[in-house]
Assembly symmetry: C2
Homo-oligomer: 468 residues x 2
Amino acid sequence: MNVPHHEFARVPVPEELLSALRARFAGRFATSEAVRAHHGKDESAHPPALPDGVVFAHSTEEVADTVKLCRIHGVPVIAYGVGSSVEGQVLAVHGGICLDLSQMNRVLAVNQADLDARVQAGVTRKQLNQELHGTGLFFPIDPGADATLGGMAATRASGTNAVRYGTMRENVLGATVVLADGRVIKTGTRARKSSAGYDLTRLFVGSEGTLGIITELTVRLYPLPEAVSSAVCAFPDMDEAVAAVIETIQLGVPVARIELLDRFAIAAVNRHSKTSLKEAPTLFFEFHGSPASVEEQARLVQDIAGGHGGMEFQWATRPEDRSRLWQARHDAYFACLQLRPGSRSLTTDVCVPISRLAECVSATRADIEASGFTAPILGHVGDGNFHVAILVNPEDAAELERAHELNRRLVRRALDMEGTCTGEHGVGLGKQEFLPTEHGEGALDVMRAIKHALDPDNLLNPGKILPG
Amino acid sequence: MNVPHHEFARVPVPEELLSALRARFAGRFATSEAVRAHHGKDESAHPPALPDGVVFAHSTEEVADTVKLCRIHGVPVIAYGVGSSVEGQVLAVHGGICLDLSQMNRVLAVNQADLDARVQAGVTRKQLNQELHGTGLFFPIDPGADATLGGMAATRASGTNAVRYGTMRENVLGATVVLADGRVIKTGTRARKSSAGYDLTRLFVGSEGTLGIITELTVRLYPLPEAVSSAVCAFPDMDEAVAAVIETIQLGVPVARIELLDRFAIAAVNRHSKTSLKEAPTLFFEFHGSPASVEEQARLVQDIAGGHGGMEFQWATRPEDRSRLWQARHDAYFACLQLRPGSRSLTTDVCVPISRLAECVSATRADIEASGFTAPILGHVGDGNFHVAILVNPEDAAELERAHELNRRLVRRALDMEGTCTGEHGVGLGKQEFLPTEHGEGALDVMRAIKHALDPDNLLNPGKILPG
C-alpha cells in the first residue's frame, strides 16, 4: 500500500527456464501457487508480488547456477531468507525466480579464540545462538524477528543491542557473494581489520540483494557477559526520558540496550503481557559486564533517571524477571496490533541525532494525535532510532493513504533534523521516494553507477532501493 | 623501492592548465621544485614522484574547481594531507596536480550531545583533540603520526585504540566528497545508523583518493574516560604474551589498548627513551572506564598475565607515569631506526586472526633472524595486527630487494592464515601485488568495475590500490 503509484512490469519467464530449473533442482524447484504466494510477501503492508518459481538452494554453487540460468533468459532473481523484511524487500515486483536460502542453514565454523563464526546465509540468529551454547560466546544483533543472518546482512539490520554492539555493518567480517554474472567472490578476511582496498563487505551489507547474493558470511561473536541486569523506569514526559538517555551516553556508560516505549506502547504491553507498568514514557535498560561493573552502571543510570523525574525505577537481576521484562518489550509489536483488532501495522522507522530525538518524537506524537491514528512509538533510543506502528484497516484505501502521509511527514521531519529515512528497516519499496532528499541526486547517481557496474542487466532484486 | 618493477608513464600537463590554476589560485598554486619535492614523498621508502604543481585548497568548491580543470586536460589529481602515508599513497607516480588540503583545517561543528564533530579534511587528529579540550569528549583514533582526518579516512587508519574504539571505518559517520567529474556529494547523515541504501561512506573510507576526494567529514567522539590506567608486563616468550591477549579478549575485558613489542623493539625503546624494561616480549595495556571498572580490568589482566608467566607487571596510574610509558611506545618507531644509524625502515603491516598471531609472529621472527636483518616487531595485538620495521641501507639495492622478499614472505604467511596484507597502512603502491591472492580476481574485478564507474578516465590518484 505504500507504493500505489508504482507500476511494475513483470518480466516474461520462458518455459525453457522453468524446465531447466526443474531439471537442475527437481523437487527443490517449486512453481505451485502456495509456495509462490508464501514467497511473494513479507512482514510489511506492501501488497504481495509473487515470483514465478522458487528454488530452494543448498549451496553457493546452486545459487550461482540459478543466477546463470536466469541471466541467460533475462529473468530477475530475488534472494529470500524467512520473509521477515519490513519494507517489501523480498517481493517479486518484476516477477522472476525467488532463491530461498533458508535450507542453507549450516554453521560452518565457530572460532572461539577469534570470536567469529562462518555460517551459511540461511542460518537464523536464534539458531546461531543455540549452536553457540556452551562456548561462552554469543551473537548479539537482535532485530526482533528470528531473521536469517544473510537477510540481516542484506538489510543492514540492527535492533536493541546496537547501542553497545553495533549493527550488521560492524559485525560482518566477510562474505561469499554470487555476482550478477554467476561468479562467486569472497570479500574480507578473518582479520579484525584491513586496509586492503575497497570495502566490498560493507558495500554488499545493506544492498538488499541488488548487487549480489550473500550465500555465506563470517560474523563477529562476543563473550557472554558474566553478569546481566535490567531495569525499567517511567518518566513524566518524553523530553525527560530522552534527556536521561543522552546523559547516559555522554557519561560513557556502556549500556547494552536502552529502549523507549511511549505510553500507548506501554498500555499495549500491559494489556498483552499482563504487566502493570505505569502508562508513561518508559525506558528499558540492560547492562552487561562483570557483576561489579553491572551494579555500577545500574546505580549510575538510576541516579541519572532520578535527575530527570524517573519514577518507579524497577530492577531485574534474576534471569526470570529479566526475561519477562524483555519478553514484554519484544512482544510489544504484537501487543500494539491488538490495540486495534483486525488492523495491520504500517511500521516505519527513522533515526535522528540523539540531540533531536525528543523533539522528533514529540512532534510525531502530536502529528499522530492530530491524525486520529492509533500508532504507538517504540525506539532503540540509544542510537536515536525509533519506530512508529501505524495501525490501519487494510481494506480502507483512504485510511491507508492518510497513514502513508503521516509516514511521509515523519520521514521529512527526521531528514530535516539531519537524520535518515530508515535506521534499520532498509529501503525496499517503501523508502525509495525519500532517497533523493536524503542523499541528493549526485550521491544517488553514484549508487546507480555502482548498481549498473555490478548488475548491468538489472536482474538482482530489481525495483528495490533504486527505482527501475 | 618496493616497486622497482613498476613503470609509470607521466601524463603531460599542458601549460594551459598551469595558467588556469595560477589564474584561479594565484599564490596558492605552486610549481616550485621545493614545494613539489615536499609533496612528492611520504613516510614510506618508495622513491619520490613529484606532482607537476600543488594547489593549497581552502574549500570544497576549490577542490571541485581543481578537479574540473584537471579533467578538461586529462591530468591526474592526488589528494594530500600531511604526507604521513606509509605505502606511497601520495606519490604522483603519473604526475599531475597535488591537492594539498592541509589548509582546510577548520573544526566546523562539535555536537556535544550527539558525540560527533564535523571537520574539514585537513584537521589533524591532535588539533581536533585540542579543540575538544573542555568538552569532556575526545577522538580516539591514533595511528601514531599526527595525520589529517581526511587522510586517515582515505587510508582507513586505526592504531593503538582500535581494539576498543574501532578504526576509521567505524568512526566516520559521513563525508563530503568531490567526485571525478567535479560534482560534490554528501554521504551519510548525522544519525548513528542507517539502512538507507548503499554504504557510500564506507566505500570512500579506505579508497585512498582513487574514487573521490574527501573534503569534509563527520566523525564520532567519545566521552573522556573518567579513569585511565596503564600497565606493562614482560613474558617469557611470544606465545605466552599472545595467549594472555587472547584470554583477555575472550573474557570480554574492555581494554582500550594492548600493544606488543618484541625484545628487539624493547631494546630500542630502552636505549631511546632511557627506560629499563626487561628485554623480552612485552605487552603494554591501557584501561579506560570508571575508577572501579579500571581497577577491576587491571586486576583481571594481571591475573591473566600471571597465568602466562608474566613478569614484572608494572602499574601506572599517575598521568605522568602513563604518559612516559606510552610516549616510549609511541617513540618506538624512531627508537627502532636508531638501532641501525643511517638506515631507513621498510615498515610493513599485516593483520591475522588472533588465534594465529603467535604462530605468525614467531615464524616472522625466525625469518628475520635467518635473513640477518635488524627488524623489530611491534603490534596492535588486540586486533591481531602487527608491524615489522625492516631496517635497510637505502643505498644498497640488493639489500632492499632482500628486505622486499622478507616482506613478501611475511604477507604470504599472513594470507595463508586467513589474514590481510595490510591491517591499517593501506595498499598505496606497496601492497598491490598481494591483492590478487587476498581478494581473488573476481573481487578485484568488482573493485575495478567500481573504480571505472566512478572515475572512468582514471584521474583520481591513478596507480594506487589497483594498478593502471
